[in-house]
């Protein structure tokens, strides 16, 4: 009976590891897969295999996957709501903006790793910080995207959008000022 529960979790986590578009989630799913399969080995009466799986599969292979993921560049996307009073707590989990799926498709095509940060900070405060690549603000059903001129991924995103001529998206490019 216990094995059946763990078989179900193993199959689900393996399918999720293959299906997910983000690489770092796949690393977490594979770590869960290894940790659970070590216990399944114990249930099946193979404690030596469980020992090897716990050491190799759950620890070393995770670090090797992370070292391989360093080839991917991280694309920092800040998404902020101007209207702070309507910023509800369930905002993060339940509603996903449709523009984010487009940006994630773009990042998958160019071998970038999107890292999306939801924040309620001011726009200028974020612009002061180093390391942002794209800032998405939302004003009355219109999206305003802020990018920098020297960031060629953001410029490629701008070109792609202007080719498709979307109405609801406008782009603001920050010039480099000394």
């Amino acid at each position: 009976m216990i094995e059946k529960i763990f078989f179900v979790i193993l199959i689900v986590s393996a399918i999720m590891a293959v299906q997910t578009p983000k690489m770092r989630r796949a690393v977490v799913y594979l770590a869960v897969f290894s940790a659970l399969s070590a216990f399944v080995y114990i249930l099946m009466g193979a404690p030596d295999a469980a020992l090897a799986e716990a050491v190799i599969g759950s620890t070393i292979s995770t670090i090797i996957y992370l070292a391989a993921l360093q080839k991917y560049k991280v694309f920092m996307i800040y998404l902020l709501d101007e209207k702070q009073d309507t910023h509800h707590r369930e905002h993060i989990s339940h509603r996903k903006d449709p523009i984010l799926t487009t940006i994630e498709d773009f990042c998958t095509k160019r071998e970038l790793e999107p890292l999306i940060v939801y924040t309620v900070d001011e726009l200028d405060f974020i612009k002061e910080k180093p390391g942002w690549d794209l800032i998405v603000t939302k004003v009355k059903n219109r999206y305003v995207l802020h990018g920098r001129e020297q960031n060629y991924h953001a410029m490629a995103l701008k070109d792609e959008w202007e080719k498709e001529k979307k109405k609801k998206v406008s782009f603001v490019i920050e010039k480099e000022h000394e």
Binding site: I2, I5, I9, S13, R24, A35, L51
Partner: protein, 84 residues
């Protein structure tokens, strides 16, 4: 009683695995992964109580000593934005 406890804990492992799948951010997944690791540690100890063999506890010691390294490295990887 021990058998009932193993059933309940494996059911809780399943619920926590749902949290790993539906968690909105990567940190929620890491937190639920930490919970799953602790519960599997309990399950190994309870299972060694059931079959009354103490060599399974060696596996549990190895598991507790080494299982936290992957969580630390994933957290550091996310914090430093792509560097270990």
């Amino acid at each position: 009683m021990i058998e009932i406890a193993t059933y309940i804990i494996s059911f809780l492992v399943m619920i926590t695995a749902i949290k790993i799948i539906m968690g909105p951010t990567i940190w929620d997944r890491l937190l639920a992964y930490n919970l799953v690791m602790a519960k599997i540690l309990m399950l190994i100890v309870l299972f060694s109580v059931i079959i009354e063999k103490s060599y399974l506890l060696d596996i549990a010691i190895t598991y507790s000593l080494i299982g936290f390294i992957s969580t630390l490295f994933i957290a550091k990887f996310v914090k430093d934005r792509g560097k270990i």
